[in-house]
């Protein structure tokens, strides 16, 4: 059942007004107005999203709210509308994006209180949220692509927010370019779908339209000899690896840490990186047709998850640890998606949104308190001075480490169980190990930051203070949801059990287990590895602080490899960037452009110059001469037709 619900447009319109206000009037109306408007519009969008969600709950399962705003592209029989659609999946995503986004905006009011460029910042933040809302509410693939590109643009704008620092600007560009590579895949995926569907006379890209004709996609595509769905699925997944930071395109995300910390929170929790997961879940009817592509997704996800976690355990920078943890957690999500448990992926998106936003905001609070210090080696023992930050960050850490009762536990458990039950034993094993690594690096972060002896620069030590209320309130709210957010997806049999999965089932379909699994055993194994990680972290960073250094020196090569992130940046630079630079510089710019093309241009100019010198005698200035020439032309054309008529 689809219900016309025009207020969906407001979810986009109100933030759009916020964008325009902040960018064009923000400086004129002053900081107070911006501080009110920027979080306000997102919060308003959240309220409307909640309204829509409430309507959805009241309707039978499988219902959706929809509105067609205006026709967008009309090219022959191919037509695309600017249309919005809110079903169970997009309702959940909209609420996450707008809700968590609103809290991050609120937090930003305090975090950016001393920045000169507040209006530009909030304008971009609003635009970022707006783009993500377009992405999740879109009714068709093309409109989703608009949002997809919008978040890419905004990530660039915000990562390079302090653009006067050349390194920051460079990192912004890096994020943008890496995203472009993925987007190319996404576009090719769209083209594939349009081509495949169009050649069967189906000229639509809307979810419902494509789903209704999905049997077309199982057809073999001649040039490749594989089903259309596989080609399209892999291309779209290539887009997802860029946006959601998976191997091989994850390299931009750690470098994106140079933006303001709330931006990182927004990118990691609410808006950008979950777009890939959402897209694949949204297109689950397509991916379900192509087991091979699903297999690729699952393997890449598990590998990403594992390797990102290994990198995270040695990073000294507090935000980089969190960045790699994000990559690792998104790997989990894709793992769930890749093995066919789409709902579990979205479930993890939700819980992750809560605790990862919280982690970043807490890290921001710490950095704020330490005047921009990000190196954990220069922290320690802060828990007395930052009690709220400490408490909330501890909750988030417990959540991400999947301690039972906290939200992360339910979602991660569901994914791992699905991985095992679908027969991917090795992937499950990697997931389990990653879970141990996760708890290790997260508690390493906690212990290095808040416990032990203070290593803070003495100059800064005396004015460390807790953040203002406008920053701590979002922390507390998020901490609350980091605990209870997972309770909507209790394991089967407990209380309302699996309510979340059942809510999403009409969109995502049911997960079908192929291997019998004992949920309790699996859960216990995961918990065991988690606790091992916790204990190891305690041993190495609290009980015996000298151990890490020894290990690092005894396995120096390995340690350095982890510290340098498996040399991936260096490899990319050597294999891709350098040849491209050579091609652009010496080869094309000097060789082809200066000698070849410029020669042609100069030659053309020379020819034109000289022939013009000869031809200008025709310009007598007497209009009648021109008219005569014109008449001769008319007569010549007429003569041709006379020839046609007579001959």
């Amino acid at each position: 059942m689809t219900v016309h619900f025009p207020y969906l447009g407001l979810i986009l319109l109100i933030p759009a007004i916020g964008v325009l206000f902040n960018l064009f009037l923000g400086y004129r109306w002053g900081r107070g107005a911006v501080n009110f408007v920027a979080p306000g519009v997102i919060f308003a969008a959240f309220i409307i999203a909640c309204w829509g969600f409430a309507k959805l709950l009241a309707m039978p399962p499988g219902s959706a709210l929809a509105v067609t705003l205006w026709p967008w592209i009309e090219a022959g029989r191919f037509h695309v509308n600017v249309a919005l659609r809110m079903d169970a999946l997009s309702a959940v995503m909209t609420m996450i994006v707008s809700g968590v986004g609103a809290l991050i905006h609120l937090y930003s009011v305090g975090y950016m209180a001393h920045d000169e460029d507040y209006a530009r910042y909030f304008g971009y933040m609003n635009l970022f949220t707006l783009s993500m809302l377009v992405l999740v509410l879109a009714d068709n693939l093309l409109l989703m692509f608009v949002g997809w590109e919008g978040v890419g643009l905004c990530s660039y704008l915000l990562i390079a927010f302090w653009y006067t620092n050349p390194e920051f600007a460079y990192n912004g560009r890096k994020a943008f370019i890496v995203n472009r590579i993925g987007d190319a895949g996404f576009l090719l995926g769209i083209f594939t779908l349009v081509y495949a569907l169009g050649s069967h006379g189906v000229w639509t890209l809307s979810w419902t339209g494509m789903q209704a004709h999905r049997e077309i996609l199982t057809g073999i595509w001649e040039p490749f000899g594989v089903p259309v769905a596989t080609v399209a699925g892999l291309l779209l997944f290539a887009g997802a690896t860029g946006k959601s930071a998976q191997i091989p395109l994850y390299v931009w995300l750690p470098d994106a840490m140079v933006g303001p910390t709330p931006v990182s929170a927004l990118i990691h929790a609410a808006t950008m990186v979950t777009a890939g997961v959402y897209m694949i879940v949204r297109l689950n009817f397509l991916f379900i047709l192509t087991p091979s592509a699903m297999e690729v997704i699952a393997v890449i996800a598990a590998l990403t998850s594992f390797f990102a976690a290994t990198i995270a355990i040695v990073q000294p920078d507090i935000k980089r640890v969190l960045a790699y943890s994000t990559i690792s957690q998104i790997g989990y999500m894709f793992l769930g998606v890749g093995v066919g448990a789409f709902a579990s992926g979205i479930f993890h998106v939700m819980t992750h949104a809560f605790f990862k936003a919280l982690l970043f905001l807490c890290a921001g609070s710490v950095i704020h308190a330490l005047d921009g210090e990000q190196d954990m080696n220069k922290m320690g023992g802060l828990w007395r001075k930052l009690p709220i930050t400490y408490a909330t960050m501890l909750i988030a850490t417990l959540a991400i480490s999947a301690i039972p009762g906290f939200s992360g536990y339910f979602s991660k458990d569901m994914i791992l169980e699905a991985a095992y039950a679908s027969g991917h034993f090795w992937l499950w094993l990697m997931g389990i190990i990653t879970a141990g690594l996760t708890s290790f690096y997260m508690f390493r972060l906690i212990f290095m930051t808040f416990h032990g002896a203070s290593r803070v620069d003495p100059h800064k030590a005396d004015h460390i203070h807790e953040s203002p209320a406008v920053m701590t309130i979002p922390l507390i709210v998020l901490a609350f949801f980091s605990v209870v957010g997972g309770w909507v997806g209790l394991p089967k049999g407990f209380l309302w059990g699996e309510a979340f999965v059942r809510f999403l089932a009409p969109v995502t379909g049911e997960f079908k287990a192929t291997v019998a699994a004992n949920a309790i055993t699996l859960s216990a194994l995961a918990l065991a590895t988690t606790l091992i990680g916790l204990v190891l972290a305690y041993l190495m960073y609290l009980a015996r602080p000298e151990l890490p250094g020894k290990i690092a020196s005894s396995a120096a090569a390995f340690y350095r490899m982890l510290l340098r992130k498996y040399y991936v940046d260096e490899i990319y630079r050597t294999l891709i960037s350098r040849p491209l630079f050579w091609l652009a510089g010496p080869a094309l710019a000097r060789g082809v452009d200066q000698h070849g093309i410029d020669g042609i241009v100069h030659g053309t100019a020379f020819t034109v110059d000289n022939s013009g010198e000869a031809m200008r005698r025709v310009e007598t200035g007497n209009v009648q001469h021109y008219a005569l020439i014109y008449l001769i032309g008319v007569i010549a054309i007429g003569a041709y037709y006379v020839y046609l008529v007579i001959g």
């Binding site: 009648q624 005569l628 007569i635 003569a639 008529v645 007579i646």
Partner: protein
């Protein structure tokens, strides 16, 4: 239209058209053109285009041609002198070109398919109602665009023809009646307003 009437009107049309291009005095040329246009208007009416025929008389003869008359007077043009550069080559080629053009057009007329006879027009054919019906449905955008064109032409004509010093320096006589200069400056474009109102 009866054949005799056609031949009569056609003869007048050709003679007066020749008068337009052969007379030396521009006012005489203009009168010949007025005669041609009126002759055409009669022909239009004879062909059933009653409204268009009358509008031709109102707009073309009653307004546009008067504008020409004004300009000829304003510039105080006399008969073209026979001296100066005669440009005989240009004239020769012009006449030859026109002759060739006419020959080509006649070839088309003879060879190309054309409607054999006059249809019996529907009732009210050419009436203002049928014209308005077409004008405000199928040709609405063109109609609106034309009104815009007229506006642009009015503004452009005023801007072009306005004397550069008109705004600043009024002669004493005009100084006593400031509006007079504005009125007389606006006068050359007068017929356009009319054409806009009528057309």
């Amino acid at each position: 239209m009866p054949l005799g009437l056609f031949i009569f009107l056609a003869a007048i049309a050709v003679l007066s058209a020749l008068g337009v291009i052969l007379q030396r005095n521009p006012v005489h040329c203009l009168l010949a053109l007025v005669l041609t246009l009126l002759d055409m208007a009669v022909m239009f009416i004879g062909l059933g285009a009653v409204t268009v025929g009358f509008l031709q008389a109102i707009v073309y003869v009653g307004a546009i041609m008067v504008l020409f008359l004004f300009v000829i007077w304003l510039l105080n043009l006399q008969a073209e002198d026979r001296g100066g550069s005669r440009q005989l080559a240009l004239k020769f080629f012009g006449v030859v070109g026109a002759a060739v053009l006419i020959a080509e057009l006649f070839v088309f007329l003879v060879k190309a398919p054309s409607p054999a006879g006059m249809n019996h027009p529907p009732p009210l054919f050419g009436s203002i109602a049928s014209l308005a019906g077409a004008l405000f449905t199928n040709y609405l955008i063109a109609f609106e665009a034309t009104s815009l064109l007229l506006l642009v032409a009015v503004i452009g004509a005023v801007a072009l023809a306005r004397h550069p010093a008109a705004a600043g320096s009024l002669s004493p006589a005009q100084g006593a009646q400031p509006v007079a200069s504005g009125g007389s400056e606006a006068r050359p474009v007068t017929p356009e307003h009319k054409a806009g109102g009528m057309g």
